[in-house]
Amino acid sequence: MTERFVKIYPRFERFWHWTQMVLIFTLLFTGLAVNGLNTLIPFGPAVMLHIIAALALIVLWVFAIFWHITTGTWVHYVPTTRGLFKVARFYAWGIFKGEHHPYRKAYWRKHNPLQALTYLALKLVLFPAIWVTGVIYLTYNFWDTAPNATLWLTVMANLHLLAAYAIAAFVLAHIYLLTVGHSFREHVRPMITGFDKVNLTSEEEAYLESDEPARIR
């Protein structure tokens, strides 16, 4: 086992992450205006921008899902209990004692078990919840003749709102965790350069050095 800097976030993944970041912030900003809390942008433009950003994000997600499936990178998100408790204990206790983070990133496991579980929940629960309710909400006029349409619209809009607040809570925690440890910059850098410190087996190291030298340094 050696620790090397490996490009574990390829270009598309970084593009996906940052575009998603911009779109989610746009959606939160305009969504809060549509909801009536944010008065920094007028209602009409907020609705237009919200719809455009939402459609763009859905397109991005379609590409991202395709990418995860075709590249096999979905395996990073397979949930595991191995080390999960240790990581949870670290954030709840060990961090205050000056302990080291118990997880070491692997070439095919770039997220710690808690992180992987959180992202999986985000991708399987919150994101589908927001876009399913959003699409139902947006297409209201295709089903407005259904019985109790107004009630269902109210239910869908409120679920959409709750999902949005839950995503906002995730964003807060996500950004907060960047402040944990050495420095904020060090946490953000891998998502910019693509390179992060990863434990490699000697076989992985040999493979990368001979077949994909650009991915290792």
Partner: protein, 545 residues
Amino acid sequence: MPLRPSFLTALAGALLFGAAAVAQTGGAPAIPGNGSTADHSKFEILQKDFASAPEVTEACVSCHTEADDQVMHSIHFTWEFDNPETGQLLGKRNVINAFCGNVAGNEPRCTSCHAGYGWDDMSVAPQEAGVTPDCLVCHDRSGQYTKTATGAGLPPLDPVKPGTKTITGAQAWPVDLAKAAQSVGPPGRENCGQCHFYGGGGDNVKHGDLSSVLYEPALDVDVHMSPEGQNMVCSDCHVSDQHKWAGSRYNVTAADTKGPGMPHERRDVATCQSCHGTEPHPASLKGVKLNDHTDKLACQTCHIPEFARGGVATKMVWDWSTAGKMGPDGKPLSVENYTQGDGKHRHTYLATKGDFVWEENVEPLYAWFNGQIEYTTGDQTIDPTQVVEVNKISGSPQDGDSRIWPFKRLNGRQSYDAKLNHLAYSHVWGPTTDTAFWTNFDWGKAIEAGMKAAGVEYSGEYGFVDTHMYWPITHMVAPAEDALDCAECHATDGRMAGIDGVYMPGRTPFSTAGILGLALIAATVLALGIHALGRLFTRKDGDAS
């Protein structure tokens, strides 16, 4: 001698020039789309000195053989409307309103705007009373035909008694019947306006969206009728079939999902959709979103942001109970305390009518409306401890036929039978009677005479009750760029604050879901804050990498 082409051209030119000169000297207001095949000034039967107005009608029907029959079956003549939906017998002949109250007992004054000559008794239908229809009030294009204010529909003729007023309140002039008869054409806005702009006893008193401003409105006042806009006349929308007009206020087409239909097909409605279609906004993202609103909103709700625009105010409060005060000089008191946009002063108190409040550029009231208006007719029992709805707006968010409509609401205070709890009829006009309120200022006598004229039971005791009367707002459509902005309604204190049955984003950020969401954010911030404080306090930030 063969005619040379140049001579023919010259002759044709001379004829055209002559025709144009006649048209100009005629002084008739321009009729949009006028290209009639008949020049009425060439008809011999119209080239005579008419001794009376009904003689003109007689001449008209000698060619237009079915016109009188058609008119006599129209609401303009019968003043009666048998509501097919509610079964109520309505129309001016029957209803009580919150303005001048009732026609019965005040006929020659109120029937001055009747489309006939000499109807002076509401208890007899005009068809039975042998009333002659008035063709000229709608078809005169000479611009000098009018009716006297108190003449049961007859025009002022030479010699005009000094002090006579017209139906618009102007000093009366002798009408030239022959000139009017020879000028006839399709109705212009002057024809409709001289009655409909002055409903309730003065300019824009009643409707709020129908005033003399519409004779020549600026573009921002009425995009359809403005000469800078489409320059349309009333009958361009209020299409007719055999002298029956589309656009009833008693039985409103509140939601038109049919649209324009085939060209010239629809003669039944005066709806926006009958020209603009059911998806009128452009095929853009915004347009699609706006079209999405048409299942809940009437076009008027966004496109008539305010009524009584253009400088003429409308009456918003009318309190009859204060009428009858005399001034220091012992004469009936009158106060002119409101100056409207066009500079004209309006009465805020009249001994004859009580107190008024005028308003301009008024934000409408909004309500679900399915087109049905139920009147509190004289036979209905009212609850005088509550505000009486003179005409109740029907509609609900659930029925699918209702849309959210804009309304003018008149806050009234008017007389009622204090024992039987019925709205009262009152006899106000009658310069020579000893019972008319406007002459004698005695409510007891005026109500007793009014009830008698209407033929209803009266206990002899009267009081005053607060009333509401509603007028759907549908005229004075603003240009598209002046339509309501989204945020006018999609806001916490927006125009739709009182409307239920719809989900409206932007109205309630602190709904249950909104509060739950904010609580989640607060809990997250709290948890992260405690975590951060823990790290700061122990000063042993773990190595998270």
